[in-house]
């Protein structure tokens, strides 16, 4: 599902390249767009947001060579059965950078992808130039649990994730058929493998102190899935990080405030951005 054409008109760039990359035997579906000579930005999507190329991707691609893989178990990238834990994913992303021939990248992750991005930065700091965590999971803030996606029905999920439900239109299937529900079930299995219980990494919060790269934390202030206090804790734990709170949006700022969200990231990742440490 892409809305490339509609977006292209608005942000005036070309359609993304789409290809499959062999990452140690995992056929990884990737969108890529942006000036070939620009610095690389790897974008890790959130749960069930694979196989998408939307306005927000395009906005990032105006300044960067954006590489947006479908994370194994989402979109068009299948997950091998034994790929079940976060460390499998951390290794996968390192392998992916190797397969792409990229030594050092800017890494941007949203929600579950944010958790993965933070883990990759903890384990392979030498591969990360700058890090952006948007509405990221991965840690626990006691007393303020993340909403339990597994217990929510589709309507409740939309209500928790979106301030403006109309912004979710690109996620609506053209037809609610058996295939659609099967894909949903499959993707939820991937999420459950990683985040059924606990839905975080007990060690990540402590390990965030190891991060050395400039880091931007960006959050929709009305996030009802991963409350903004999570952004504050990431901000506290990552020395020198910058926190940007976006008003008028919740868990999905890139859908609801695509320009503000992308501007903040583009500015931070620009050569002079994010250097205030």
């Amino acid at each position: 599902m892409t809305t490339t054409e509609a977006v292209s008109e608005r942000v005036n760039t070309t359609a993304p390249k789409e290809y499959t990359l062999d990452v140690r035997g995992i056929a990884t579906h990737i969108f890529e767009s942006g000036p070939e000579t620009a610095p690389v930005l790897v974008y890790l999507h959130g749960t069930s947001l694979g196989n998408l190329w939307l306005e927000y991707h395009q906005r990032l691609a105006s300044s960067f060579r954006v590489i947006a893989p479908d994370i194994p178990g989402f979109g068009k990238t299948e997950r091998p059965d034994l790929m079940r834990d976060m460390d499998d994913y951390v290794l996968f992303f390192r392998d992916m950078l190797d397969a792409l021939g990229l030594e050092k990248v800017n890494l941007v992750g949203h929600s579950l992808g944010g958790w993965m991005a933070a883990e990759v930065a903890v384990w392979y700091p030498e591969r990360i130039n700058k890090l952006v965590l948007s509405n990221a999971s991965g840690i626990r803030v006691k007393g303020t649990p993340i909403a339990n996606l597994f217990a929510l029905n589709p309507q409740e999920t939309l209500d928790v994730c979106f301030d403006d439900v109309m912004a979710a239109m690109p996620l609506m299937p053209s037809e609610m058929n058996v295939d659609y529900f099967l894909v949903q079930y499959r993707e939820r299995q991937t999420l459950a493998s990683l985040a059924w219980n606990p839905g975080f990494d007990r060690k990540l919060e402590r390990r965030l102190a190891r991060l050395t790269c400039p880091t931007l934390i960006i959050w929709g202030v009305n996030d009802r899935l991963i409350p903004p206090v999570y952004g504050e804790v990431f901000h506290q734990k990552i020395a020198g990080s910058k926190l940007v709170s976006l008003p008028g949006t919740g868990h999905m700022p890139m859908f609801e405030k695509a320009q503000e969200w992308a501007d903040a990231i583009n500015e931070f990742l620009s050569p002079n951005g994010g250097t205030l440490r």
């Binding site: 217990a151 058996v178 099967l182 079930y185 459950a192 059924w196």
Partner: protein
């Protein structure tokens, strides 16, 4: 062999629900507020339920059965082994079924092996088991990852069987469970205590049971589904594992309301039976099928079957579909005969206690079942064939 074994199961429900339960509580499982439970009334209720099981024993049922469920009003037995321990002291003749322990919910299945061994020794070898995975809801209640449910089930099963049957100490090396010393004290009397597999027609469970010749028990399912499950079990047994499935491998669990006449039974069922389906099994749909709890193949089957939830079922639907059995003695005998004669299923697991049903009606149900239905399926005592009789028969050319 009797044509039909009569097993008596109890769910031990919590019947005292607030009047506005159906509007105010969106799930009778997982999130149902436990302020609804009154421990003082619970004390009286548990003992009343034990009395009912004791009566089933005295009336001649082959076994009494308890099970494991968590955080719900449907059944208040989070530890079925505790219930079985009580029953070993109350039930003198019948077997005691624990159908079952929800193995994947427990991080230490060796404990289950030990407890069943204890119960088997205490009861003099009268324990049989169901090994189950627990409902989808229980993966929410216990926080166990549903994507690992089946693997944990299979591994726990292997571990428990090893603990029961192999002289210890042995070593168990699994993906999910790992023990250097498997050496349970006590060992069970039965080698091993029998295992049944209750199921809701999932392909994987049927194969698992057929492979090991474990009785397969259909649970609260429409007749068409039960039939399909038995057929698959038979076919799997025959074509894949090379043997013919016997009636004592096919069990059916169904609430049975029997009374003097069809009409009285129907009225009783109308008043009490629907509690089970409309209240006890009121489940938030998201709790039913957590991701990975069933395989994608089974999930597809569920999608395609377009199953109507029990919430929308009427008593007439459930009777017509064969989910429940309701009727006078002749009707009940006829319906049970369909299982024994047509489906060749030889083990009835009948519950008589549903929801708010008063004790005198439970008693009546049990008595009619035991005294008027049961004898129809019991083998008539045949005169012993002495060597002299055999000799005479041979002389006159009459076979046995």
């Amino acid at each position: 062999m009797n044509k039909l074994e009569f097993h008596y199961f109890h769910l031990m429900p919590w019947p005292y629900l607030p009047k506005d339960f159906e509007e105010s509580v969106d799930s009778a499982w997982v999130t149902v507020p436990n302020s609804i439970y009154d421990p003082i009334k619970g004390h009286e209720l548990y003992n009343r339920y034990f009395d009912e099981l004791e009566r089933a024993d005295k009336l001649g049922f082959d076994s009494v059965i308890v099970n494991e469920h968590h955080q719900n009003v449907y059944g208040t037995m989070p530890s079925p082994n505790l219930m079985a321990a009580v029953l070993t002291q109350r039930i003198k003749h019948a077997k005691i079924g624990i159908i079952g322990n929800a193995l994947p919910l427990h991080d230490d299945p060796l404990r289950v092996a030990e407890e069943i061994a204890m119960l088997d020794v205490i009861s003099g070898g009268r324990i049989f088991n169901g090994f189950v995975r627990g409902t989808g809801m229980e993966y929410f209640s216990y926080g166990v990852n549903p994507t690992l449910s089946r693997e944990r089930m299979n591994e726990a099963h292997d571990l428990i069987l090893q603990a029961w049957t192999q002289p210890g100490p042995t070593i168990f090396e699994g993906e999910h469970y790992n023990y250097r010393y498997v050496n349970i004290w006590p060992r069970p009397i039965q080698q091993p205590p029998p295992i049944w597999m209750p199921g809701t027609a999932s392909l994987e469970t049927i194969d698992f049971a057929a492979k090991r010749k474990y009785p397969y028990m259909t649970v609260f399912m429409p007749m068409a589904q039960r039939k399909a499950a038995y057929e698959l079990y038979r076919r799997t047994a025959e074509e894949k594992y090379g043997y013919e499935a016997q009636p004592n491998q096919l069990a059916f669990c169904t609430p049975v309301i029997v009374a003097e006449t069809d009409e009285i039974a129907y009225q009783t069922a109308k008043k009490y039976l629907m509690w089970l389906f409309h209240k006890g099994l009121k489940v938030r749909p998201e709790f039913n099928f957590p991701p990975g709890y069933i395989s994608e193949k089974s999930f597809l089957n569920v999608l395609k079957a377009g199953v109507r939830g029990f919430q929308l079922s009427t008593l007439d639907d459930l009777i017509a579909e064969g989910v429940v059995i309701v009727g006078g003695v002749d009707t009940v005998i006829e319906k049970l005969s369909y299982y024994t004669d047509e489906l060749k299923a030889g083990m009835l697991v009948a519950g008589g206690h549903v929801g708010e049903i008063p004790d005198y009606l439970v008693l009546k149900n049990q008595e009619i079942m035991a005294k008027e239905v049961m004898p129809h399926f019991r083998q008539k005592a045949e005169p012993a064939v002495t060597p002299q009789i055999r000799e005479v028969r041979e002389l006159v050319g009459v076979s046995n």
